[in-house]
């Protein structure tokens, strides 16, 4: 059974076609984590249920609730693994979808 996440949560998934990491906005999907919707407790479960409709229509390969930190109303993944997914590989700033050149500053 998945560990219950405390605090704000957002929803992460992979596009079916290319596996690109996307975040649920409440109405669709965005590669930018700050565009993501977030919620807590039962509201987060409701958000997940809505996101799962995209699984049913084959937009994404799977959805998961992940812990989020919220700054000025903008959510961002809390766990290192999900930060990695949001930013792309730390070792190839020239590649990846969500390329970032500021990995070294982390």
């Amino acid at each position: 059974m998945a560990k219950k996440i405390k605090g704000p949560q957002m929803i992460l998934a992979n596009n079916l076609g290319d596996g690109r990491v996307v975040f649920f906005t409440g109405n669709g999907w965005s590669a930018a984590p700050n565009d993501g919707a977030y919620a807590e407790n039962e509201a987060a479960d409701a958000l997940l249920a809505k996101a799962n409709e995209s699984v049913a229509d084959n937009t994404v390969a799977g959805c998961e609730l992940i812990g989020a930190v919220v700054t000025d109303g903008a959510p961002y993944p809390a766990h290192m693994k999900h930060v990695m997914q949001a930013k792309g590989p730390s070792v190839r700033a020239d590649l990846g979808y969500q390329v970032s050149t500021d990995w070294e500053a982390l």
Partner: protein, 441 residues
């Protein structure tokens, strides 16, 4: 090199056609992700952190120049211009699109390659000494036996859903370059007092979160009993290996829990039951497969070369490269060249399409169109004449492949880790990338 027969071609082609149909059904929504997942994994296709990842099998790490060029083409056409060579002597691509993976598999099939059994709870790519057949310190070339294992284990109906993945390594050399003691089954090719070929059989080695050194269950298994004994080990594991906890499902856990003596007794008991079944292949078939691995005809050359000595005297890096990146060959005047894929500040095991093309060209010119991939994630040009070393190193160095660090700290093995892998807990590549180049020499 082993060459496909009609059966092999038909088998791989039918698998490509089958997977193309499965992908189309997934994209149309006729298969859910839950239904599709085991099907894609059987074809080496993972869904990782950022994208799909396709792992291509390179049986026992031997690859032709033409195959390497095809791998480069796939990197360029379907990925982001590079590939990652792995500790199972395979290559994996980190950015393929789902809809294009059947096309990739079709292109691989054209050059007698595939991605079958590079994932899933089955017998994975058999690995061996990267210098197999080209080194003086071995009793025989282990690759024919690795090929025999490949044929026996491919689509083996009983061993397609094992408790967990299963890895073989085989060596025939006095120096274990295949890490056989850290494999589910490790095989050491040896001869007995009568000069007959056989194997020391080790079981239950492994790394990861529970590192264990394999235990010897047979000091000498005659060649004639090779496959039936492997079958017996796998049958015991398949029956008694744990399936309730994936972290305790590898055979190393079973052997540790059962005890080596009792496990061996169970294997021997099982073997006695199945020995009469014609699993083992006749000596003629072993000879037929062995013929594919005949070494190229090499002339005996002088061990010292003036051109090499001259360049080494004035270029310290080249001299270090000769020391670190070449290994003795069984034919005098020749060496095996290890091309480091661990450049300073680079990503261990990665090679660009252009680098792969260059290495293929060098193989055509200097190593009889043959290449090897080592479990240390480097590339090897076997059978190289010493006099050709200055030209080879100069070309490699210009392409960023001349690093003289094989066997040194900066040559460390590095998995993709948290940068790509959904199972990883640590990002290892940045750590190696920051290793000071001063550690090289």
């Amino acid at each position: 090199m082993y060459a496909y027969d009609d059966y092999d071609h038909a088998l791989v082609k039918s698998r490509v056609d089958e997977f193309r149909d499965q992908v189309e059904r997934r994209v149309k929504g006729e298969l859910t992700e839950e239904e599709f997942r085991p099907l894609r994994l059987m074809n080496g296709l993972y869904l990782q952190l950022h994208a799909y990842m396709l792992r291509v099998a390179v049986p026992y790490g031997t690859v032709s120049a033409d195959q390497m060029r095809r791998l480069a083409h796939i990197a360029r056409r379907y990925d982001k211009g590079y590939g990652h060579f792995t500790t199972r002597q395979n290559i994996q691509y980190n950015w393929p699109k789902l809809s294009e993976t059947p096309d990739i598999l079709e292109e691989l099939a054209e050059v007698e390659m595939h991605a079958i059994q590079t994932s899933g709870n089955c017998i994975r790519n058999v690995t061996t000494d990267q210098f197999a057949g080209a080194t003086a310190d071995e009793v025989a070339d282990p690759r024919p036996y690795a090929e025999l294992l490949r044929q026996w284990s491919s689509f083996h109906p009983e061993f397609s859903f094992l408790p967990r993945k299963f890895k073989f390594a085989i060596t025939a050399a006095g120096t274990d370059r295949a890490a056989v003691k850290w494999h589910d089954i490790g095989l050491i090719l040896k001869t007995n007092d009568a000069g007959a070929i056989g194997f020391e059989v080790l079981v239950g080695g492994g790394m990861g979160r529970t590192p264990v050194i394999g235990k010897t269950v047979r000091e000498f298994l005659p060649e004639a009993d090779f496959l039936s004994y492997m079958e017996a080990i796998l049958r015991v594991y398949n029956e008694h290996g744990r399936r309730d906890n994936k972290y305790k499902a590898r055979i190393k856990i079973l052997v540790e829990a059962t005890g080596t003596e009792e496990f061996t007794r169970q294997v021997e008991e099982e073997w006695a039951k199945i020995k009469h079944i014609p699993i083992d292949v006749p000596a003629e078939e072993i000879a037929r497969i062995t013929a594919f691995f005949s070494p190229p005809p090499l002339p005996v050359l002088a061990d010292e070369d003036e051109g090499v000595n001259t360049l080494a005297a004035k270029n310290f890096i080249f001299a270090s490269w000769i020391t670190n990146n070449t290994n003795p060959h069984k034919v005098p005047g020749h060496v095996n060249v290890t091309i480091s894929l661990k450049p300073h500040g680079g990503i261990a095991g990665d090679a660009t399409a252009e680098q792969m093309d260059l290495v293929a060209a060098l193989a055509d010119e200097y190593s009889h169109s043959e290449l090897r991939i080592s479990h240390e994630q480097n590339l090897i040009l076997p059978h190289v004449a010493k006099k050709d070393l200055p030209a080879i190193w100069t070309d490699l160095d210009e392409a960023g492949l001349g690093t003289a660090n094989v066997g040194l700290l900066t040559d460390m093995i590095v998995c993709p880790g948290l940068d790509y892998c959904a199972l990883a807990n640590a990002a290892l590549s940045p750590l190696r990338r920051r290793s000071p180049s001063a550690l090289t020499i």
